[in-house]
């Protein structure tokens, strides 16, 4: 099954400590203006993710976890500080280059799934490839891409729901479709924003297991935002944000 992700350059499973970080954020600051008040969300956060590392970002609501993830995922630009991916600074690239990085190197999973309601499960998984390819290119690669998407859905136990629309799926199913979508383009990094936040305990546990499995078996680097300490405990590293500041960096690895 892991062969589905072979296109992705595999991080070194041994994770040497001295290895260059896959992703790093340095001195990230972000403030939002809301009317006359300025809301300082991030006040200089540093974060490093080694290849194959599973990082959980925890903190209270409003501590800037999601904003940090948006900055790392290039959905937003920091006011100051920088984001590096594979040693290359990416936050100041031209818009189209950032679009390409989002499309090819970073997969994102959201709390409320964010599937396109007009598309069925397979099409939602294929969406990043639709975005990447023009019509002619798509027609040439369609069969291969479809196989890959169906394979991912089957891996997540959705083999019987390939052509269901999002509203015909349960929350856990939708989140698994979203994870498949994040993986279809073969990214190096998965950013997950409260992936279990909207799910009941059982579904949430299923999603979490899927992420852990991806990290362990495929060596996928994951940054997951969560407020649930139980969920965070499954990660290699826990980064605690408090009021926009990097408060603590714990490496429990209790499960090994």
């Amino acid at each position: 099954m892991s062969s589905l992700l072979d296109a992705r350059p595999r991080g070194d499973i041994a994770r040497p400590a001295a290895a260059e970080p896959l992703l790093s954020g340095r001195g990230l600051r972000k403030r939002y203006r809301s009317g006359s008040t300025i809301l300082e969300v991030l006040r200089g956060v540093d974060l490093e993710v080694s290849p194959g590392e599973f990082v959980a970002v925890v903190g209270q609501s409003g501590s800037g976890k999601s904003t940090l993830l948006h900055l790392l995922g290039l959905l937003d630009a920091p006011d100051s500080g920088s984001v590096h991916l594979g040693g290359r600074r990416i936050d100041n690239l031209p818009v189209s280059a950032r679009d390409t990085i989002r499309n090819r190197e970073i997969g994102m999973v959201f709390q409320s799934y964010h599937l396109l309601p007009e598309l069925d499960a397979v099409e939602n998984v294929l969406a990043p490839l639709y975005v990447r390819h023009g019509v002619i290119e798509w027609l040439r690669r369609r069969a291969e891409a479809r196989r890959k998407a169906v394979g991912l859905l089957e891996r997540f136990g959705l083999g019987g729901r390939l052509h269901h629309r999002p509203r015909q799926l349960s929350g856990g199913e939708m989140q698994r479709v979203a994870i498949a979508r994040a993986l279809v383009a073969g990214p190096r990094l998965l950013l997950a924003d409260e992936p279990t936040g909207n799910l009941d305990a059982e579904s949430g546990a299923g999603i979490l297991e899927a992420l852990v499995e991806l990290n362990r078996a495929d060596g996928l680097s994951i940054v997951m935002v969560t407020h649930d300490p139980v969920v965070a405990a499954r990660a290699d590293t826990i980064v605690r944000l408090s009021a926009g500041c990097h408060a603590a960096h714990v490496s429990p690895r209790v499960h090994e």
Binding site: L75, D76, S96, V131
Partner: protein
């Protein structure tokens, strides 16, 4: 790829947007129908006018005309070269047409046109507008023994019947003469005014007529044999109106008839009746002379302007009566030459060449378009104004699309955020909505085109259905020149309409598309 896919999906799932293009559909359908009908109307009218008038008219400014039409025709042929396909001389003068209905004289102002029967039909569709089948083949100015077309057909489509024409011609003439004889016998024999006048005219013109006759060959390529000789009253001969006719005359049908409330034609004069025409002589100052003619046929072009104005006679008779033939040399004058151009010749170019070849102080050269300029340009103007007004309807539809697109962009804000999160660029997002606008425009325009063509092809059936439902005539052939609503579907006009409609749909999706493209991904994702 995602742009195409999402456009298709939105098209299938957003019915509200389809509602907004219904106005585009209706606008396009209306424009297609209106343009087809207007073009058909304009074309029919032009071809009819063109059928009445020759391509080019070469005329003198003077009513007296110019001498020697043969020499002029040679010069025209030299100047026009191969573009000239045919020519015929005519003499046209204003005149008064008088006829008697139930003892009362009716006089009408007419354009009295002397034509060369042999060649006139070669420059226009003149023959097609006559009522007797044999005259349609070749006009002879001789009264026929009945057989006039009672169908009143236009372009092969039968109109209302005209039973009055059934026994027109010699039978009508004989009956009338018989009635007059009975009436005269009853009254104790006073000679009726018409007959007295006829005698006077005969007395006045007979000597000249005798002199002129050998030279009175029709100008142009007409055969030298005079077809009217047999019918013409000879000197010293007492005419028997039951067996002989005066010089033939073909008045426009509008002069001889009127249409009553039920739409049937009522005739004041029939072929076989005698009429009097008063017209100016060619000398200076002109003197009015009169002569009696026998109606041998009617001219019906369905253009009331011409049908109630034109009266045709043989050109040699008119030349003789007006004194347009020089007694010594026998050279005749005419005041215009009708010119038919070869197929494919450039009307305006030949006209300009002829204008250059002849002194403009003496001659005017004009095309049939010049002659009907105001009418044709009025129709064109009407079409242009209608098109502008109808296009405004489509433009209004554009604002509907604009509003609905803004709604859709708001509704789709989160989806736009998702697309941006998975790497779609702003131009791609804009492309979705522009493509969606294009698709809606194509759907709306296509549906409008289909609807418009369906209406156009069945417009006469629709008219009949409406007439059947309401019991009123929607399209009155006595007002228009046709029995059926004519339509022409011009592919150029249609592509222009569709392009315009699609362009408006795309243009009105530009603003919403730009708004969608500018959405910030994070804010879009947070949108509830």
């Amino acid at each position: 790829m995602y742009k195409l896919l999402l456009c298709c999906r939105y098209l299938r799932t957003r019915w509200i947007a389809l509602a907004s293009v219904i106005s585009v559909t209706l606008g396009v359908a209306t424009m297609v129908v209106v343009n087809a009908v207007m073009a058909g109307f304009s074309h029919e009218m032009q071809s009819r006018i063109h059928g009445i008038l020759s391509d080019l008219v070469f005329e003198s400014h003077s009513l007296s005309g110019f001498q020697d039409p043969d020499w002029h025709m040679q010069e025209i042929r030299r100047a026009g070269g191969d573009s000239i396909a045919g020519m015929t001389p005519t003499v046209a003068v204003p005149a008064m047409l008088s006829f008697q209905v139930r003892g009362q004289w009716i006089t009408r102002q007419v354009m009295f046109i002397g034509i060369d029967a042999a060649t006139h039909a070669s420059v226009s569709d003149f023959d097609e507008f006559l009522q007797h089948p044999s005259n349609r083949k070749q006009l002879t100015f001789e009264l026929h023994e009945g057989g006039y077309d009672t169908g009143g057909s236009i372009d092969g489509v039968a109109g209302p019947l005209r039973p009055a024409l059934e026994d027109a011609g010699w039978p009508h003439r004989r009956r009338r003469v018989e009635q007059e004889r009975l009436w005269r016998d009853k009254q104790g024999g006073p000679v009726r005014p018409l007959d007295r006048q006829v005698d006077a005219v005969l007395a006045a013109t007979s000597p000249a007529r005798a002199d002129d006759e050998p030279e009175a060959t029709p100008a142009g390529d007409a055969p030298p044999a005079d077809p009217f000789k047999a019918a013409r009253p000879q000197e010293g001969h007492t005419m028997d109106p039951a067996r002989e006719q005066f010089t033939g005359i073909v008045p426009g049908i509008g002069l001889a008839s009127f249409r009553d409330g039920t739409g049937t034609d009522r005739f004041l004069v029939l072929p076989g009746d005698d009429v009097k025409v008063t017209f100016p002589t060619a000398g200076t100052p002109p003197k009015a002379v009169s002569d009696t003619f026998t109606v041998v046929d009617f001219y019906e072009s369905k253009m009331s302007e011409y049908d109630s104005n034109f009266v045709f006679v043989p050109i040699d008779s008119l030349q003789r009566l007006r004194g347009m033939i020089e007694p010594e040399s026998g050279v005749a004058s005419v005041n215009s030459i009708q010119i038919k151009l070869a197929a494919g010749a450039d009307l305006d170019e030949v006209r300009d060449r002829l204008r250059k070849a002849f002194p403009p102080e003496l001659y005017a050269v004009s095309s049939w378009r010049d002659k009907q300029g105001p009418l044709l340009s009025a129709v064109d103007m009407e079409m242009a104004v209608l098109n502008i007004l109808l296009f405004l309807i489509v433009a209004v539809a554009g604002f509907g699309i604009l509003a609905i697109f803004f709604m859709i962009v708001v509704e789709k804000t989160r989806d736009i955020g998702i697309l941006k999160a998975i790497g779609a660029g702003s131009s791609g997002i804009a492309g979705i909505f522009l493509g969606y606008g294009l698709a809606l425009g194509l759907v709306g325009g296509g549906a409008g085109l289909a609807l418009g063509l369906a209406i156009t092809w069945n417009i006469n059936r629709i008219r009949q259905a409406v007439e059947w439902c309401t019991g009123e005539r929607v399209f009155d052939p006595s007002i228009y020149y046709f029995f059926d609503i004519p339509t022409i579907i011009d592919p150029f006009t249609i592509s222009w309409i569709i392009t315009g409609a699609v362009g408006i749909a795309v243009a009105s999706s530009v603003l919403p598309a730009m708004r969608a493209a500018r959405l910030h991904p994070v804010e879009a994702l947070r949108h509830e």
